[in-house]
Amino acid sequence: MTRRKITNAVMFGLTGLCALLTISVLFFILGYLVYYGGRSLSWDFFTQLPAPPNEPGGGMANAIVGTGKLLLLTALIGVPIGFAAGVYLAEFGGRTFSSIVRYTADLLNGVPSIVIGIVAYALVVVPMKRFSLLAGAVALSIIVIPITIRTTEQFLRAVPHSLREAALALGARKWQTVATVVIPAAFRGVLTGTILGMARVAGETAPLLFTSFSNQFWNRGLDEPAATLPVMIFNYAISPYEEWRRQAWAAALVLLTLMLAANLAARLVLSPRGARHG
């Protein structure tokens, strides 16, 4: 073999090693979580309220429900705004305003989540004078809006022009075309993007620390603080109590399982038929 061919083979091996190292991280994470978290998972974890420090037992039922409520509220506030803005960019927008909105959404997407937490604190917690589920949902909505805009626009644009022209040629108005032809055609893609966006905010911790805060008991309304899985993992992991740390592992396992399930589900929704439309 010539030196050039050897270099070729060596670099193939080296870059392959880089890729292998990168993906091995996921298996490390999964391994540790299953090993430590699996041992601490029990039926009580899903059904009981948190126990006081150093008392055995207890669970995170309130945090699981809290995360669910928070995500539901986020889906109600953030996703419609992001979706409508995405439809505007893909279908109704002009040139200048659209590119300004697109660029702003990209920048908003890059704002650190802790900064978004500060803003939600100033906007909701300060006027209401208390930590609340609503404040957490506002923070997560600000995060999910740019993600939804991006995926909505992307998938609407992937719908072939001939479909729009066919609808318009039949006499449908622009809005009828968008609502009855374009959006249904892009539905799978948009749904996938929404699932992935929600999965991403489900793990957000920083913006919840001083918005939805935490709660040792059940959340009883939008204007009350709520326990959530990510914040519980943080609080329990940095606590000095052995029992709480074990529960942090269990909660992390539950959270990661949810994320991976959402990602796999999104992939299943998109393929095999949706893949053709891009």
Partner: protein, 310 residues
């Protein structure tokens, strides 16, 4: 003729001059207005964000001025606030993380985009996407209980510290570097590769001498995006950096970062000045990431455009 099909109900009123209301009733303007309102909401949210950060930090900004950025003391009890230890911690952890993650990430991206067989590449790319979805609090958990003990054995006095945070950050930004660099590489036109291969280059030579230089700007873009993400990363860093506002002599010593101090002290800040100083830290962080993101987007757009021209 065309109006006979779907809009027949409007025909009797076709002569009325109030076209605006007619068109409004037809729905296009309503749809336009609703979606445009949502698009405008994005601008409004962003402006509100900047204004809130700016106005809520007024107290600290007027009291300390620019010396806030170079002050070394952070003492909430005495009411003295300087951001330098946090700036140091944020910048140094992120820079170290980049130094570790960029070679590895770009290498992996080259493998996935250029060298690996498509089947393997698809599967591995999906795993990289999954990695990007792991919440940062989980990285922090592993950082505390797995990495910190290892670092203690390696010579870090407390296990937690600047170096520990940098390693966790490096692992966290890796998937972003891989997936964005990979996209940049894939946007290089086919002809470029084919020309190089036709001239007798090996796959690696075609990749390293033709494709990578072509995608250079996009790869830089991915690095900037990863840096912005590292600077703003909160939970994982808070859990492993040691939370001590000092500029240590060694990288193994504990430190503090901007995002971490906000996360730890925000709910406990009772003095207005303390809260205002924390919000000013948020403003600084926002400014840093804004500049990096703007640069990164520009670079990525430039690469894509270059690819599209050919």
């Amino acid at each position: 003729m065309g109006s006979r099909v779907a809009t027949i109900e409007h025909l009797p009123r076709a002569k009325t001059p109030r076209t605006f209301f007619r068109r409004l009733r037809a729905g296009d303007h309503i749809a336009w207005a609703i979606t445009a309102l949502a698009a405008a909401a994005v601008l409004a949210i962003t402006l509100l964000l900047v204004w809130e950060l700016y106005s809520s930090s007024a107290l600290a900004r007027t009291k300390f001025g620019w010396s806030f950025l170079i002050g070394r003391t952070w003492d909430p009890v005495a009411g003295e606030f300087g951001a330098l230890p946090f700036l140091y911690g944020t910048v140094v952890t992120s820079a170290l993380a980049l130094a570790m993650a960029v070679p590895l990430g770009v290498g992996a991206a080259i493998f996935l985009a250029e060298l690996a067989p498509p089947r393997i590449s698809d599967g591995l790319t999906f795993i990289v996407e999954l990695l990007a979805a792991v919440p940062s609090v989980i990285y922090g958990l592993l950082g505390i209980f797995v990495l910190a003990p290892l670092m203690r054995r390696a010579g870090a006095p407390y296990g937690v510290g600047i170096m520990t945070a940098a390693v966790v950050l490096a692992i966290m930004i890796l998937p972003f570097i891989v997936s964005i660099s990979r996209e940049a590489l894939l946007s290089v036109p086919r002809e470029q590769r084919e020309a190089a291969l036709a001239l007798g280059a090996t796959r690696w030579e075609a990749t390293w001498q033709v494709v990578v230089p072509y995608a250079r700007l996009g790869i830089f873009g991915s690095v900037f995006l990863a840096l912005a993400r590292a600077l703003g990363e909160t939970m994982a860093v808070t859990m492993v950096i040691g939370n001590t506002p000092q500029i240590g002599a060694s990288l193994l010593e504990p430190g503090y970062s901007i995002a971490a101090v906000i996360a730890n002290e925000f709910t406990e800040a009772v003095e207005d000045l303390h809260l205002s100083a924390l919000i000013e830290l948020g403003l600084v962080l926002f400014g840093l990431t804004l500049v990096l993101n703007a640069l990164a987007r520009l670079l990525i757009v430039m690469t894509k455009r270059k690819g599209a021209e050919q």
